[in-house]
Every structure is written in structure tokens, then in C-alpha cells.
Subunit: 340 residues, 2 copies
DNA sequence: TTGTAAGCGTTATCAC
DNA sequence: GTGATAACGCTTACAA
């Protein structure tokens, strides 16, 4: 009772061999009904539990997958992880999570650690940018299946799962134009991160499609937090010709802007429309509620998990490379509803 | 290059034995400088990575800990996990997360799975209640260190980490009384869950301390969501003598109530004060911002991790049982600030 | 200081 | 249908 029971304990009890016990436990067809039942009964009696570590070592499959994100307590990442876990748990996988704190050294170390732990795959939303992506690639050579989601980098042999950031940016901007906004500003985060750049491109293309002039004074690069959003909004409103709308690549930055606009009595949406990105929970509770582009994080997690599963279920030799792009859904709320 | 290198590969390369390689890699003092350097160099050259699975099997320690929560994409749980991960990662532990969906069968199965995976410990915010706690205890007998946090059950041999829910309920209620509220309602969630019951007790004791009559019409048990909160508020406001404040055990329930009150033009905080619980991110962004009791989720996670570490670092024989109670911090915002 | 050999708990490949 | 044995990759007495 003190030590955990092994198949040897069962074998000894029944005066048979461990191999037979193993077969019985694994529903191997080459075994008699009688011994199977006997084994199962004794296993129960001894409170036997399979040691998955031993199985893992023997088989080379740990049934663990690593998930690497900047911080897990951000709604988006937490939701992606929820999706991953829900897809993988029924297949017998456990999800190991780690946080990079957006530090590249840490991210490399974490990935190396996961590889050492023999995880069967690694899903990452990376903090690396195109400028330093090669650093990361070193760690990845010949490792277990690797998949990027959301914040991705492109390598020939690595699949990615993203949402259509370009379309999201386009739709949001076009929607603002349709509301009659003439001078639409944009909050960007980092030019070197593909996803933000795609949103930015969508913004520019929507402007150009509708013949709205692009004004670089209206594009501000800022951190994704309230304080930065306030400052950025203040700067915009002090321009000779201030904008009449903002499409922000983040909800948090936009939140600061909204608070600032309200503080100087700018009426939203009557005088000024805004659309954010991420559909953070708070956007729907604010007054006015904030339009935002939804990223379907749970679905993204599930999709990333599915791509991983496909990869390991396929023949080893066939290298599956896949870039899945999920739709971005513009959620229109009061903050950008001038009419009606 | 195709297969992963093992210590045997290094040994063969250097014409020494695997044991020596192992010693060199582990900084065993009984080894010559020369061979150590040689081993390290060849390890590097062959791109050797330690197989932690093998170490785990040998040592009986997997360096994994399981964390079990209802859903990971709730801000509270995500933040607790963040704390756990940050405390444990530097010590070489990986965090495996799983979600119970608040289903008891699933929770049992998950815990059993984690035990099979030989995790070194399990940290759980349980969905079991006192009524069915024995079901769970069966699974726990003689398993690895086990720790409850937030939603806990009490067993002689299991440590717990919670916040002072009683004090939180007390402080929130007393604060409302001090604001001049005379008829304070309460939103409860489930009588059988200790933590909600403690908040409720705090509420009652604060009333009684200040000589405010307890009125059972003002206490409503409801699910923790907006819709339920709206209905509950409507019910309250239709009483012959409606309340003039609510202390809610959840922010989400309270949110619905606030929206309802605003819809019938009740002024908060002038005519009606509210205080919630959990300090969800949205509470500070609403207009008016919502007072709430903060649960320090990240600290709770760190503390749970620390209790776990203590437990495994102590001698096996000494069973440490500890019930850590962290302070609950009332955050006062506009929703309950009548004066000034 | 280094080598030998056993063992962690399984499963798979042979035999019989 | 069952038993013996080797192997997964590593650590650790015990010898030398």
C-alpha cells in the first residue's frame, strides 16, 4: 500500500509474468479471457495505476504538448489555451504551459526545456520578430512538431494558424468609412510584427479603395495599454485637423483613447467613432459599448491543436505544412453606430 | 543527426563509459577536468539534450505539477495559473493544466490521469462541494502532494490556500453601511460552497455589528452571470421596500444588476451603491467604476506553489498541513462612493 | 577518477 | 496463450 503497485506486483500475485499482465491490461487479443479477468481484478485490488512515464520512455511519446505564450492571464491567450486543451485532452494529451514574458532568451530556453521533456509537440505564439527569427530557428532544428499561432513566423517546415488580420483591419476601416467618418486614425503596435502590420495594411487598403486620403499624422505606434492610448488620443486631438474616428489594433489602447475623448466631452459615436481589435470582454460592457474585431481565440486554439494532431497522425515522412487563416469577425457595437 | 543523441553516443565517441558521461554532465565532483570538458564539448557537438523522461523514470520525479481548474479562460484562474507558473518554472517544474468544466466525473478522471502521469503534485480549485467530497477523497489516497486553492475542501492531510472571504464580505458590507446605505441586498451563488458561504457570513455579521436588520428577502441566490444579475435586480426593485445597495459575491452577477438599474434610471452611487467581488478587469472601466473585493489571484497562485514546494522539500515523513489565508482587499471605486 | 551493472516500469520480439 | 529477455535513456552503488 505504501509503494505504488506495478505490473510485477500483479504478476507475482498471480504467479504469471509481467509480460502477460501487460498484455491483459492493453487488451491484447492474444490472451485468454480467464487471465485477463484475473489480471484486471488484481489490478483493481492492488490499486494499480499505469506509470505513463515508463510508457513514454519506452514508446518515445510523452503525450504532453507544450504551449508557449507571452502571458497566460490575458484573455486572448487564456482562451486559445482553453481551445487547445479541449481539443487535446480527449486524445490523451496533457497541455504544459509556459510564459515567455515577451523575453526572447526566456522563450528560447522554454522551448529547449520542452524539447528536453520530450513533448510530442510545441504550439507557440512567439515574441520573436522577423528581425531576430533566426535565433529561434536554431533551437527548432529537428525537434518535435512545431506550430505557430497568432504571433507567427514563417519557416518552410512550420505550420501556422492565424486569423485574417488584414481582412479584420480592412473591414473595421471600411465600416468606419461607411459610417461617414472622413478622417480615420489608426493605432498600431509594432511594425515588425506581422499581425499588426497586416491590420495596418487592411486599414490603408480600405482607405484607398474608398478614395480616402492616407494621412501619416493619423497613424500612431503605441504600446497596448490605457495610458499610451490616452496620450495618443490627446496628440491626435491637438492636431490642426483632428480625426473623427480611430481604428485601433488593440482594445486596450483604444480604451485609453475613449476615456480621454469622454473626458474632453467628445461624443461617441455621434462626433467620433471607434473600432478596436480583440473583442476583449470589457468592450461589450462599456458605455458606449465598443465595436471590435473578434479573433475567435477558442477556435484558434482548437485549430492549432487539430493541425498538430494531423501532423503526428500522418506518416512521419510526409511533412505537412499548412498555413490556416481563420476569419476575423467585426463586431459592431454602439461606439461606431452613428445611424439608427 | 537523424536520431537524438544519448549519453551512449557521447561515450562511444570518446571511448569512455556512459556513467562517466553522466557524471560529467551532472557536475559530479569526482571527475577530471579534462574528461568533463571533453564530454561537454562532444555533447555540444552532437547536439545532445538530456531526456528528462528517462531521468524522471529513474528518479521517480517527473518535475511536472498538475493544475486543475474549472475553466482556464476566466481571469481569476488564468491569473492564479500565472502565479503558479512563475513560482515553479525557476525551480525546474512544468505546469500541466486541465479544465474540469465544473463536472465532477471529469475532475476525478483528470486527477487520476495526472497521478498516472506521475506528476510531483496537484493543485486544484475543486468543483466538488462538501456534500460529495468523499467521492474525491478516494482518488486522493496516497497520491502525490495535493493542494487546494480558492475552492477548497478540508481534509486532515491536505493543505489549502484561500483568501479571507469572510473578511471580504464583512468589509464590503460595512463599507456600504458607512456610506449610509440602510437596506443592503446580497447576491449569493451557492450555499454549499464554502467560499460563498463565508462571504455571506461576513455580510450578515457586518449588518449585525452595526445593528442593521437582516432581511432574507434581500438575499438572492443566483448564477454568476449578467442575465441572472438582471433578473435578480429586477426582483429586488419590485419589492415593496426595495434595497438601496447590493453586495454581490460575484462581479458578473453585479454587472447585470448595474445594467438593469441604469436602465430604470436609478443613479449609482447617489441613489444606490454596489460592491462586487473578484475585481474583474472590467470593473474599473465601467461608468461608474465598480467597487470590488480583490482576490490577489497571482499571489494566491504563488502561495499555492510555495506551499507545494515546502511540502516536497521537507522530509517525506513530516506531513505538513497548512491552511494559508490571504487577505481580501476591498477596492473602493465610484459605485459605492456617495460622499466627496 | 573511471568502469560495471542493476534498476526505474513498460512494451515488443522472440521463443515455446 | 504465455514466458524470457531486451530495450527505452539515465543515474548510482559498488568495484577497481
Amino acid at each position: 500500500m505504501s509503494k505504488k503497485a506495478t505490473i510485477y506486483d500483479i504478476a507475482k500475485e498471480l504467479k504469471i509474468t509481467a509480460a502477460t499482465v501487460s498484455r491483459a491490461l492493453n487488451n491484447n487479443p492474444k490472451i485468454s479471457e480467464k487471465t485477463r479477468d484475473l489480471v484486471l481484478a488484481t489490478a483493481e485490488k492492488l490499486n494499480y495505476k499505469q506509470n505513463r512515464l515508463a510508457v513514454a520512455l519506452k514508446s518515445g511519446k510523452s503525450n504532453n504538448v507544450g504551449v508557449v505564450v507571452p502571458f497566460i492571464n490575458k484573455n486572448f491567450f487564456a482562451s486559445v489555451i482553453r481551445g487547445i486543451e479541449e481539443e487535446l485532452y480527449p486524445k490523451g494529451f496533457h497541455v504544459i504551459i509556459s510564459q515567455t514574458h515577451e523575453e526572447n532568451d526566456r522563450e528560447k530556453k522554454i522551448i529547449q526545456n520542452l524539447i528536453n521533456a520530450q513533448v510530442d509537440g510545441i504550439l507557440v505564439s512567439t515574441s520573436f520578430t522577423n528581425e531576430n527569427k533566426n535565433q529561434l530557428h536554431q533551437v527548432l532544428k529537428k525537434s518535435s512538431p512545431f506550430i505557430f499561432f497568432d504571433r507567427v513566423l514563417h519557416f518552410d517546415d512550420i505550420s501556422t494558424v492565424t486569423i485574417d488580420d488584414y481582412q479584420g483591419g480592412f473591414d473595421a476601416t471600411e465600416h468606419l468609412i461607411n459610417q461617414g467618418c472622413k478622417r480615420i486614425a489608426h493605432f498600431n503596435v509594432n511594425q515588425n510584427i506581422e499581425l499588426y502590420n497586416n491590420r495596418f495594411k487592411g486599414y490603408k487598403d480600405a482607405l484607398s479603395k474608398h478614395g480616402v486620403a492616407y494621412n501619416s499624422d493619423y497613424v500612431i505606434t503605441l504600446k497596448s495599454d490605457m495610458e499610451a492610448g490616452k496620450e495618443a488620443a490627446e496628440k491626435l486631438m491637438n492636431l490642426p485637423v483632428p480625426p473623427d474616428a480611430i481604428f485601433s489594433s488593440t482594445d486596450n489602447g483604444l480604451l485609453g483613447a475613449v476615456k480621454y475623448l469622454q473626458s474632453i466631452a467628445v461624443k461617441i459615436p455621434e462626433d467620433f467613432c471607434v473600432v478596436g481589435f480583440s473583442n476583449e470582454p470589457f468592450t461589450q460592457f462599456l458605455e458606449p459599448s465598443i465595436s471590435s474585431v473578434d479573433q475567435s481565440p477558442v477556435e484558434m486554439g482548437k485549430m492549432a491543436a487539430k493541425v498538430f494532431l494531423e501532423q503526428i497522425e500522418s506518416n512521419q515522412d510526409v511533412k505537412i505544412h499548412k498555413d490556416v487563416v481563420l476569419p476575423a469577425k467585426l463586431i459592431i457595437r454602439k461606439s461606431s453606430s452613428k445611424h439608427k
